[in-house]
């Protein structure tokens, strides 16, 4: 019974991890930027939701569209104002964009700390739980899981069926090819960074229902997203969902069997093992 309960917990958690990791994956796919500020956006969105719930009684469902819009504007602004101004150099672009988002991550975490303080917050919304044959399913987690899947599906549909989504996929598959077909790479990058950040903010709104968070926990979510993407395979959206479920399960089982403090190391260990032993991930394209 315990095992079934742990599987349920892990899968529910994995759904939200998947959403957050999809945003991370889009940014990496299109721009080859490992966005180290990803988790900080997640956490800041969650903080805003928690404060809005406490002060105005707005629940995260209402705030979800606001988070998406706010995240998009923030992401597009970060790309336009900062990332785009990095000197274009073939050798060190990856390193300098990595370092830039590293600095951005500290900026956002520090800003969050100055604005919201270091205390833990969450949204006490739908605190009950369903009981299915002895397995407890918390309502908030189920709702967050379902919404995460809906958003992930909407994102997939956007990428698949719209012209902008097509341009994003083309750019991540082959930069020169997309350029040759007349894709405005610069706009696609702004769009992707905005989209990825919007998805992170949406994931944050959902996280606020199921996690107790403080502004300094962003790093954990960045690492989770990175680990998920590496486990699933860079650039693979289905792999992303699979990787997130694997990580969710790993988290649930290690927390139960070896304790919550050691479980903190689970994504790091999984990430290092997968990138060493299986560099293309579970569903990634095999590249030489």
């Amino acid at each position: 019974m315990t095992v079934v309960q742990l599987v349920v917990n892990g899968l529910l958690l994995g759904g939200v991890f998947a959403l957050s990791a999809l945003g991370f994956n889009i940014i990496y796919g299109v721009m080859r930027v490992v966005n180290l500020a990803h988790g900080d956006v997640v956490v800041i969105a969650a903080m805003v939701c928690a404060l809005a719930f406490g002060a105005l009684g707005l629940n995260p469902l209402v705030l979800l569209p606001v988070a998406v819009a706010g995240g998009f504007v923030l992401g597009a602004a970060i790309h336009r104002l900062l990332l785009r101004r990095l000197p274009a150099e073939t050798a060190s672009t990856e390193a300098s964009s990595l370092t830039l988002t590293f600095g951005l991550s500290f900026f956002l975490a520090g800003g969050g700390l100055a604005l919201f303080g270091g205390s833990f917050r969450s949204v006490p919304f739908l605190t009950g739980a369903f009981d299915v044959g002895g397995i407890s399913i918390p309502q908030a987690k189920l709702l967050a899981f379902a919404l995460a899947l809906v958003l992930a599906a909407a994102l997939a549909a956007f990428l698949r069926f719209t012209a902008a989504g097509c341009a994003i996929r083309a750019t991540s598959q082959h930069l020169e090819g997309a350029l040759a077909c007349g894709v405005d790479i610069d706009r696609v990058r702004t769009l992707s960074y905005g989209l990825g950040t919007a998805v992170a903010a949406a994931a944050g709104a959902l996280m606020s229902m199921i996690y107790n968070l403080n502004p300094q926990m962003g790093v954990q979510f960045t690492v989770n997203a990175f680990a998920v993407v590496v486990i699933g395979g860079l650039g693979s959206y289905a792999g992303c969902v699979l990787g997130a479920l694997v990580l969710g399960l790993a988290n649930a089982f290690t927390s139960y069997f070896v304790g919550a403090s050691l479980a903190e190391a689970a994504p790091y260990v999984l990430f290092i093992l997968v990138s060493l032993l299986m560099p293309s991930g579970l569903l990634g394209r095999r590249t030489a």
């Binding site: 490992v34 990856e94 900026f107 700390l113 690492v223 190391a265 060493l276």
Partner: protein, 288 residues
Amino acid sequence: MAFLIVAPHRLNGYFVNLIYITLVYVGLAYGWNIISGYAGYFSFGQITFFGLGAYATGFAINAFHVYWMLAALAGGILACAFAFPLGYVMLRLRGPFFAMGMFGMAQTVRVLITALPATGAGAGLFLPPGSDVTSVYYWTLAVALGAIALTIWIDRSAFGLRLQALREDEQVAGTLAVDVTRDKIAAFALSALIPGLLGGGFIYFLNYIEPDAAFSSRFDLQSIVMAILGGVGTVWGPLIGGVLMTQISEALWAKFPQFYLMLFGGLLVALLILLPHGIVPALKRRYE
């Protein structure tokens, strides 16, 4: 130079501490510069070796009652020895994978040490009372000077040239009879020795160590920013960046402790955009 040697006997405690901290940062920046500047493997986890050096030194002092410098020397050598197997595994990763993998390594070691009762867990490891700031000062001065001498040697040696070749293109360097694996592991071990030795001094300076201080990502961030400000992969960059940045950072910390992280992260972002190559290359370009 003479000033640095007589400083502990002439200046008051505050200034001696300030110079000490500056020397620690300069040393850390030089250590990072070897693997990340010369060999081009950006690491976000060199603090792992600082923490290991500190803990190993603490153990040696408590268990064998040896003079602290001997213990710190052992700590540095241990950190360096640990870098060989670790480098053999981790240096298979490239770019952001290596950077994040090392970040994960630092966090994993921190979590493990926090979980182990033998290391004093979260409370920290305490030394027998009685510290001697002057001896720590000279130790750190010697390590920092040693790091500079080492970098001068690397910059002029065939070894340094081989590192720069593998930084520019590892595959090409490999075909030109550079033993890339051996050279990058050697660079990794050297850049682990320096923080290991500094960590040994640090625990004696504080008279105790706790996991969050030993594996502090703030230390890591700062030393990286310093090397970038001064000029990555240059001989004098980490010195200039380290001295400048420590003064700025101490002033920020003293005046705006609540905005410190935010300002520092923002500074890193601004630096990357405005002065992407650092001070030393910018000066060189102007006067050549």
